[in-house]
Structure formats: C-alpha cells, structure tokens
C-alpha cells in the first residue's frame, strides 16, 4: 500500500469507501478512441528521419541552384572555348582556379558551367522518364488489372518483355534511333514503365478481391470511395517513391549508354558525357579533377534520391505507423 493510498483511504470513512461509485458508461468507452490519420503518421515518421530531411533540403537546394545557375553573375557558357588572351591558345586542362572554379577540360571549356549544365540535362531526362514511367505505367496497369479478359494475354506479354534484358533493349534502341536527347528519353521510357504497370495491376486485382474491400462493398461503399480511401493513399506514396528511386536508375542507364558510345552527343554536356571525358584523362593525376567533380556530384544526387525514396517508402508503410 503506498503512502498516497493510505492517506486517501484514511481520509475516507470505511463506510464511504464501501459504497457504490457512480457508474459512467461513457468513461469505459473512451479508451478506444483513435485519431489515426494516414498522411499525418506518414509525415510524422518521415520528419523524424533526420538524414532524409537533410537530403531533401540538399536536393531541393541543388535543383534550385542548377535552375538559377546560368542567371547568376559571372557564369560562363558551357560550350564556349576559352582562350588565353596573351597567347591566343585555348586554355586547356587548367586546374581549378579563381577564374575557373572547377578548372577547364581538354578543349578549354569551363568545367563548372559544364557540370551544372550536365546536371540539368541528366536531371531533366531522369524526371521526364520518371513521370512517364508513372503515368503510363499506372494507365497500363489499371487497364490490365481491371479488364479481366486481357489479363491472361497481358501476363504472357509481360513475361516475354520482362525476359529481355533491359541492357540489351536500351542498347538496341539507342543504336537504332541514333543517340540524341530524344532517343535517350524514348529508349528509357520504353523500358521503365513495366515495373509500375505490374505493380498497379496487382493492386487493382487486390482491390477487387481483398476481404476488406469486399467488406466495404457489402457495406455499400461506392467504388470511387474504395479507390480514394483504400487504394489511392497507398498509390500516391508508391508513386512518389518510384519517381525518387527511378532517378538514380535513369542516370545510371544514361551513364551506361554513354560509356558504350550511345549516349548524348558530345556537344551536349551531361553527367555521363562529363564522366567519360574525365575518364579519358584520368591517368594523369593532375587532371583527375575532371573526373572527380562530375563523379562526386553524380554520387551525391543518386545516393540522395535513393535514400529519400526508401525513407519515404518506410514512412508510408502503415506497419510502421502508430
């Protein structure tokens, strides 16, 4: 018996204690209240992840910077060849200095400008492809899942397409259509949507057959409400996650294609191109900066988006909610 209990009991008379207390049925029910909100919980968990917040700000700043960089004062053109005013010769392979923050490359172009231009290009490709993947993928997946008659055919088609290594398909498409910005985008759009379609199709099939949805239907819930309350929250989080994860993937493929020689034309700077150029001079330690700068920026971008994608996936998983 605690001291407090003793006091309370002594304060009351035995008689008083052993009388009936007021019975309040409401009080008994109060325990069960839950103010759970899906998005609220998702946000709460995401915000707890300090790494994710940091990277989110970093990527935000990066994208902002690459967009406004050309308009900042003292920026040079990425394709202009700079010549030494004294000798008239191109300023080749100059290490980083006050004038050229990242140095110059083998033909005398400003690496700083090229790097940000390349980042813009690569990010642009990645984002376009990501958005397409999601839109087209969802569309195909929804149709695939909804229209039962074509399910068998689509499944077979999926198996066949899935069996062709992406590597080969991309190379083939780039080879046939001849390398260019448009080709890159088209080729990667052709290969990326499949995963999304498959996923959406599975979700739709589940929506039809899962018991909690059957239960909703039994209760008279209209289809649009099932879609918005059961499917959509999950889908939106998956969309965001997939876009985030597809960005490093697309950049990776771009680098791959550039490496083989099917990347963007040399005059269009891209992260892949810059990496390639840097590779050609990497054997000379003094010139290694031409490889290191693009590599670092590339790594930071890809790792950030990858971690962000995963962090969001974890946060939006209802099993982690509370």
């Amino acid at each position: 018996m605690t001291h407090k209990e003793q006091q309370v009991i002594q304060a009351m008379e035995d008689e008083a204690l052993f009388t009936f207390a007021e019975y309040d049925p409401e009080a008994a029910e109060r325990v069960g209240y839950s103010d759970y909100s899906y998005w609220g919980s998702t946000l709460k968990i995401f915000l707890k992840n300090k790494t994710a917040i940091f990277l989110l700000c970093l990527m935000g700043a990066l994208i902002l910077f690459t967009t406004i960089q050309p308009y900042l004062p003292n920026q040079k053109s990425p394709i202009k060849i700079h010549t030494d005013p004294a000798t008239g010769y191109p300023l080749r392979n100059r290490p980083p200095s006050d004038e050229f923050w990242f140095g110059t490359n083998v033909i005398g172009q400003d690496l700083w400008a090229r790097l940000w231009s390349g980042t813009r290009t690569s990010l642009l490709i990645a984002i376009i492809v990501g958005i397409w993947e999601v839109c087209f993928g969802i569309f195909i997946g929804a149709v695939w899942g909804y229209v039962r008659q074509i399910d068998a055919f689509m499944t077979e088609a999926y198996n066949v397409i899935n069996n062709i290594p992406t590597t080969i398909l991309l190379m083939l498409l780039a080879y046939i259509l001849r390398p260019s910005f448009k080709t890159m985008v088209i080729a990667m759009c052709c290969t990326g949507w499949l995963g999304m379609a498959r996923f959406v199709r599975n979700q739709i099939v589940i929506i039809r057959d899962r018991e909690y949805n059957l239960a909703s239907r039994c209760l008279g819930t209209p289809t649009y409400r099932i879609i918005t309350k059961n499917l959509l929250p999950y889908l939106v989080s998956v969309i965001v996650m997939r876009i985030a994860l597809s960005i490093p993937g697309t950049i990776g493929w771009e680098v791959f294609l550039t490496y083989i020689g099917l990347g963007l034309p040399i005059d269009t700077p891209s992260l892949g191109n810059l990496l390639n150029e840097g590779r050609q001079v990497m054997m000379a330690p003094a010139l290694r900066y031409q490889l290191v700068f693009p590599a670092v920026v590339l790594s930071v971008i890809t790792i950030s988006f990858y971690v962000l994608g995963n962090a969001f996936a974890d946060a939006s998983d209802p099993r982690n909610h509370y």
Partner: protein
C-alpha cells in the same frame, strides 16, 4: 518433377523464340551504314543496293526471317563486316565466350559467398552497427552507377603499392592470377549487394514465422533452427534470384571487360556498337537475350527441386 521441368523448358523455348524474332525484327530497323563500313561514301547507290541484296536485306521481312532461322539452325550467325572483315561471326565469338562465361560463373560464386554472408550478418545484427555499415554499402552500390565506382576502384586500388610495386595490375593477363582478382570482385559487387539485401529481408521475415516459433518451443537452439530450418528454406526463393544475378553479371561484364581489357563478349559488344558492325551486334544481342531466359528457366527448376509445393501443384500468374 520431370513433367514440371519439361513444361518449363517448353515455355522457355517458346519465349526464346518470341524474343529472338522480336529482336530480329527490331534489328531490321538498324541504319544502313552499318552494313557498309568505311566504304559507305565511296559506293554508288547501285553498289550499295547490290551489297544489301547480297545480305538478303531487301527481301520481304518474312523471307528474311525464314532465312535467318535456317541459317541459325545451321549454326551460321552471319559474317562480320567491319570488326574482322568477312570472318564468320561464330568464329569471332567462339574465342571470346570462355572468358565471359568463366568470369561470369566465378563472379556468381563470389557474390553468393560474400553476399549471403553479409546478409546473414546484417540480419543477426539488425539495427546495430554492422547492419548499418553493410546497409551503407548496399545503398551506395544500388544508387551510384556502376561505371562510377568501378572506375574509381580501378583507379585507386591499382595505385596501392606494396614495397614499391603495385599489388594489382591494371590490365587482365590470362597468365597472371593476381590480375584476375580485381575484375572478379568488381563484377560481383552489384550481386553481393543484391544477395545481402535479399538474405537479410528473408531472414528477418522467416524469423517471425510461426513454424520457427514452434521450433523454438520444441527446444531447438537458435543455431540449430538457423541451419536446419531457415537455411534450407532460404534456397527456394534464392533460386528465383539467380537469373537476376546472371543478368547483373552480364551488364557488369560489359564495363569490367573494357576497363580491364578482358577479351570477352562484353568488351566485344562495346567495340562493335561503336564501330557499327551490324551482324555482330545482332548476334551478340541474341546471345545475351537468351541468356536471361535460360537463367529464368534454371531458376525455376532449382526452385522446384527445393520446394515440393511447386512440383506438386500448378502455379499461375505473372512472376
């Protein structure tokens, strides 16, 4: 078991057939220049047409397809135009295959060994220091394009010196085993990450299963459970991961072979694409496409060996 294998085999053959035909038709879209090599500009339109006709490229597509399959069955994959003028593709590829295949198999072995161990270690130390370290490795490998880290590995690791001489040579030398190590490990890095993540996820899942709890209640120690129940069960879905492994190794080999100058098919592919040697490109693409499909077939058969539910019941649905 036999019936299941035969069924899968037939399915694979059909898929390969479809894929090859598809690829073949796609290849018809290749730019003309690839068939002429350097002499494109020097030829008159009539001469070009003659050459195209010689290759059968002006025939209707179904005739081309038929010719293609008949030559394929005879083992004729065409003749190289630019890379090695007029040398049958088969002969060129024949020399390269052993290198790619042996490296590929060795890489799969290495990745299994390191990847699975890493995954087990991660699951055991879940949430703690080592789990986070290995997770960082996996994140890095998954996020950063292989070209980047493979490059840096070659750059900096070959710079390591012991007693003044570099430990690892830059280029592959068939007769110097030490030159095999770096390319091999580099090729495995991607698969190691894959196996590790898969194994970790699998083990964490399995360890929460009811039958594991019953095994503990029976009085089996964690170690015994690990060996007798978890490990054995792990092989089934792992077999499913095998084809992905094969594919990863294929793409990895393309980088590695050119970085380290290994005379295999990957390096050849890079070369002939740049030189636009169409018949060789076509042949290599066909080979790589079929590899993936056979990997899938192998994976399914392996799974069936280990999981009695598969061979005794029908399984439907998209993979």
């Amino acid at each position: 078991m036999l019936r299941y294998s035969i069924r899968r085999l037939l399915q694979s053959v059909v898929t390969v057939f479809i894929v090859i035909t598809l690829v073949f038709l796609l290849m018809r879209l290749l730019p003309e220049e690839g068939y002429f090599g350097d002499s494109y500009d020097k030829l008159t339109p009539e001469q070009r047409e003659a050459i195209l006709r010689k290759f059968g490229l002006l025939d209707p597509w179904y005739i081309q397809l038929r010719n293609f399959y008949s030559s394929l069955l005879k083992g004729d994959l065409g003749t190289s135009i630019i890379y090695r003028r007029d040398v049958p593709v088969i002969d060129i590829i024949k020399i390269k295959i052993p290198f790619s295949v042996s490296f590929g198999l060795a890489a799969i072995g290495v990745s299994l060994l390191f990847g699975l161990s890493m995954g087990i270690h991660m699951a055991r130390n879940k949430g703690r220091f080592w789990d986070q370290i290995w997770s960082a490795y996996v994140v890095f490998i998954n996020a950063v394009p292989a070209a980047v880290y493979l490059l840096f590995i070659q750059l900096y690791v070959t710079g390591l010196k012991y007693r003044g001489r570099p430990i690892f040579p830059m280029l592959f030398d068939r007769y110097n085993p030490r030159s095999w190590i770096l390319p091999l490990i580099s090729m495995s890095l991607g698969s190691i990450a894959g196996y590790a993540m898969w194994m970790r996820r699998y083990m964490v899942d399995q360890l929460n299963q009811d039958y594991i709890r019953l095994a503990r209640a029976k009085g089996m120690s964690d170690k015994q459970i690990m060996v007798k129940h978890v490990m054995r069960n792990a092989f089934v879905p792992m077999a499913q991961y095998l084809p992905t492994s094969v594919l990863l190794t294929i793409s990895g080999s393309i980088y590695i072979e050119s970085l380290y100058s290994i005379p295999g098919m990957g390096g050849l592919l890079v070369d002939v694409i740049q030189r636009q040697d169409n018949p060789l490109v076509q042949a290599l693409v066909l080979i790589y496409s079929s590899l993936g499909i056979w990997g899938l077939f192998l994976g399914d058969v392996l799974m069936a060996i280990f999981d009695p539910r598969i061979r005794l019941e029908r399984r439907e649905g998209a993979r």
